[in-house]
Amino acid sequence: MSVLELLPIALLGAVCGLDFVSFPQAMISRPIVGATAGGAIMGSAPQGLLVGVVLELLALDTRPFGASRYPEWGTAGVTGGAVFAAVGATRPGSLAVAVFVSLVTAMLSGSSMIALRKLIGARASAVRELIDAGSERAVVGLQVFGLTADLARGFLLTLLAVALAVPLARGTVAIWGLPATFSNAAVIGLAGAVAGGSLWKFFTTGTRTGWLFLAGLVIGLGVVAVQ
């Protein structure tokens, strides 16, 4: 991919990555948004949405609190949507590869969040005395430093991820040996099972809403049968 093609994707990744924790947490970092937008930039929003839905199902299993290490879905969603649309939805294996690439990005991006927090921590220690003296410059400066670093993090990460993943994904899809129907159903089914299992656990521990979940399931299966 050329730099001109990569640039808008990387910028989108920067914005979605920044949204995940730093600003404005409006959940444009959710994969259903990021992947759709990533797909749209590469020419197909519906294809981006399909990746977004699969990742969103997986993201239901992770909640942004409590864990010291969690996947960062902002850059990952954008990467997944862009890779899928770039490789082409009709090629067997393209969905599996796009979701795979996206999950790897989410994992690496999660680690980059830890590095970012350490970097901000080091900067905070360096200006500690000024902050303790109530310096407006130091307080505002630290905030701006963190926001800028996070934006740069998302930009670089998405740039690298998409630049590496698109040729890799094209190569993989070229030698893909499973039928499209099977590989798509396997990926989507896997995500559905993860979401279902996680939600069931969530609604049956500590609350008594499990029966509502089951009632919903009956309705849901009914809707599917009618469709």
């Binding site: 239901l60 996947p71 609350t207």
Partner: protein, 251 residues
């Protein structure tokens, strides 16, 4: 108690800054510096003004370690700012700050991270499952979610300002206390409907293959639900997916 007046423009700037309250999140002071950053515009109203002695001491106090849910940090910013402007004694402000952090985190985690966010995500998945277009699904998600998000930040700052150190009473409002429970119920019902419909449309082939994948999802879901830890599902998915990719490339 002295009446404090914070001009509208100052409040607006504070509200806008609140969206970046986690901008310098780190393991040492968490979002502490963000609280100072958001409170700063109002601290300029202290006697001595911007850069004055009181201003500097208050800003330093507010920029220390703090942890809370980012949206409900707005309550803390409002209440702590008011306490500073009222000249509440620093030792009490420190204790108030400490006591405020945990409950705001807890309320926010229940209300937003394990309530409103998954609910809105499920609404979007259901919209997809029922045939929504890319634009419609994304717009529905962002508008629904942010109606709650933006309002919560504004509400927090407002009650923080109006109640100051008495803010616990507002947090104890029945609506806020009961909302997580209602959201849980709606989420549970919606989850059951949204997951199979979304999976069905995503697989998109209809007939027996579709039924087989839904069946596989149900069986897989039951198996995965037996794993006690949370947040292992996506890692497991990554592992299985690696095997699928490897197999598909080698056959």
């Amino acid at each position: 108690m002295t009446r404090i007046h914070v001009p509208f423009l100052t409040r607006l700037v504070m509200w806008l800054r609140l969206f970046a309250v986690q901008g310098s999140w780190n393991y040492e002071i968490l979002l502490g510096n963000g609280i100072g950053f958001c409170a700063e515009p109002a601290l300029r109203l202290l006697p001595g003004g911007r850069g004055g002695d009181q201003y500097r001491r208050a800003l330093a106090r507010q920029s220390r370690y703090f942890n809370a849910h980012p949206y409900l940090a707005s309550v803390a910013v409002g209440a702590l700012t008011r306490a500073e402007l009222e000249g509440v004694n620093p030792a009490k402000i420190e204790r108030f700050r400490t006591a405020l952090a945990g409950p705001l985190g807890s309320v926010g985690d229940r209300l937003v991270w394990s309530g409103w966010l998954p609910l809105c995500s499920l609404v979007a998945l259901l919209a997809y499952g029922l045939g929504g277009t890319a634009g419609a699904v994304v717009a529905l998600f962002l508008l629904t979610y942010n109606a709650g998000h933006v309002a919560l930040r504004a509400w927090g700052l407002k009650v923080g300002f109006s109640r100051g150190t008495e803010v616990a009473k507002s947090l104890g409002s029945p609506i806020l206390r009961r909302a997580p429970e209602w959201i849980d119920r709606a989420g549970a019902l919606l989850a059951g409907i949204a997951v199979p419909t979304a999976v069905e449309r995503a697989v998109g082939i209809g007939g027996e293959a579709s039924a087989a994948s839904i069946g596989a999802v149900l069986v897989g879901g039951v198996v995965l639900a037996r794993i006690p830890n949370t947040s292992v599902g996506w890692r497991l998915a990554l592992g299985i997916l690696s095997l699928i990719v490897l197999y598909a490339v080698l056959v």
